[in-house]
Structure formats: C-alpha cells, structure tokens
Symmetry: C2
Subunit: 177 residues, 2 copies
C-alpha cells in the first residue's frame, strides 16, 4: 500500500494543484469547506483538483487514471480487462463489505450464516486473484487498492474487535498473503 500511496502522491504533486486528501478531525467534519466540496455525502475525505471536488473512492481512482494516464496507470488498457477490474471492485464494495458489516450486528446461528456467506464471497475473489502478481496485470492498480485498503485493513480490525481468527492466509491464500 505504501507503494501505491507514494506513486499517487508523486504523480499528483508534480502535476499541479491536486490537493491531497483533506482528512478531517471532528471539528472539521461539519466545516463549511467540507460541506462546499462534498455536499451530498458530507464525508471526510475530499480530493480537490483545479478547484473541483471529487468524491467516492472508485470515482476518484477512475479520475486519477484518466487525468494522469501518461504518468500513472491504475486500470488495464484493454476494455474487457478494465470491465473485470470494475466488476470485482463493485463486488468488494457492494457485496463483501456489506456482508462483513453484518457480522458485527448478528450473533449465534444468524452470525454463522453470515460468516458462511462471507467465506463464499471471499473464496470467489481469492480464486480470481490466483496466478496474477497484481489484479491489473504486472503493476499495482485500481483493484489492488480496493483489496488492500478496503478489505485487508478492515478485516484485521473486524477480527480484532470480534476476537475471531477466521479470515487467514491459510484459508484465503491470495487476499491475505
């Protein structure tokens, strides 16, 4: 993850006024600047380029890829490979992360069923990754960022909070490697 953060920072800071993420503290969260730049979701991270804000992680990654493609490629060049990257990114955001959240709010038998569903979803993703150094091909890209930032980090926190150890490198050899 450090590799991709360094690449994006270097690319954007060398190419004009891409203000890096404004990570807000409690006081800033409801500030007028935040409401101006992210009036719909009012979330805390809003990159701004040429005075224009861009919200939502996947939308931001697509924007970086299209704006600085000569310097940093995040999505594969081939339209079908690009569609696959988008498909799996949506699968992480709209399926896996939502099922993972349910683990927090369930107990007993109900939680067992949710964990079973989550295991099946992670297996599908893990199988997709097999044999590929990175999701986008030979270099770290869009989908690798989703997997590392949105899956691996959150699953560590989830397991620590629930004091479980279900999602390990032994079960999902690629994702948690």
């Amino acid at each position: 993850m450090a590799e991709i953060h360094a690449k994006i920072s270097s690319c954007c800071s060398n190419r004009g006024n891409f203000i890096s993420y404004k990570r807000a503290n409690e006081a800033m969260e409801k500030s007028s600047l935040l409401l101006k730049y992210n009036p719909v979701h009012q979330k805390i991270s809003v990159p701004v380029h040429n005075g224009k804000p861009i919200a939502e992680s996947l939308v931001i990654l697509e924007y970086i890829d299209e704006t600085w493609r000569n310097y940093l490629v995040l999505l594969p060049q081939d339209p079908y490979e690009r569609s696959m990257a988008r498909f799996w990114a949506k699968f992480i955001g709209e399926k896996i992360l939502i099922t993972a959240r349910k683990v927090n709010f369930t107990t007993g038998k109900e939680q067992e069923l949710v964990v079973k569903e989550l295991t099946q979803q992670l297996k599908l993703l893990d199988n997709e990754l097999k044999g590929k150094p990175y999701f986008a091909g030979e270099a770290i890209g869009y989908l690798d960022i989703m997997v590392v930032n949105f899956l691996v980090f959150r699953f560590r926190n989830l397991q620590e909070a629930l004091r479980i150890n279900m999602f390990t490198v032994e079960k999902f050899s690629i994702i948690f490697e």
Copy 2:
C-alpha cells in the same frame, strides 16, 4: 429510453458478435450457460462480446462506451464530467434505490422517516439535473439510462404497489418529467 435502446442495438449489432441481453425465464435461470457466463451473481441478464461475458449494469455501460466510442458516446469526454456521471450513477444505485427498497419493508412512523430520507435524496438528484437537457450534456448517455431505467420505472411500480402518489413531477420536476 427507446432512443437509447435503439442506439445501442444498432451500434452493437453492426459491430460484431455482441449478443444482446439474454433475458432468462425460470428454466434458463439456473442453466449451465448462465452459470458459465455469470458465475458470481447468477443474475439473468448477461451480454456477451467475443465470447466474454460482462456483468453489472454500470460495468456494461462503461464497456460499451469504451469499445464503441467512435459510434456511440455514453459518457462525457471531460474527465471531471465523467467523474460526475459516475458519482451520480453510484448515488442512484447505492443510496436512492436502497432507501426506496426500505419503503417496502417499513410501516407507520418508520416508513415516514424512510420516505423523508428518500425525498431528500431525490431532491439532490433533481437539483443536479436542472438546466441540463441530458445528464451527459447534449445527448442521452450513461446517467440518463440510470435515471430512466432504474429510477423512473421502479418508482412507478413502487407507487402502484403501495398505492401512494408521493413521487410526482410536481415535486421532482426534472426526474419525473
């Protein structure tokens, strides 16, 4: 909507083996062909191009835009305008439609709160559309398809099912016009 369907059909059928949507009946839903082409979600609509299946509505629209851009433009050319189209498409899919579904499963005071939330979300989208002939600019595109196909049609069904008439052209002058 007929206009965009005609455009896509004409574009794809003239440009090789883009098999139009395989809309499955009950019998086909679990067929080996469907499981082969859409093994993850196993949903009923799977366009196939050059033997490769593409699943998920927004992923399909991005693929059409990138593959046949010389013949059919669905997304704006400018990266910032593209990011806005993607942002609002996600807002429809991940916020408005999910809130709309909750209306079905709630009653009384709880339903009133959900309807209030839905009204606020629709107002945001309606305001965004003001003064634009189409979302993508001067021609029907990606986001118009989302609004018409995923919002207007579903809201008509929702209102009929619940026998309510809350989401009207008087309240949301642009979306339901």
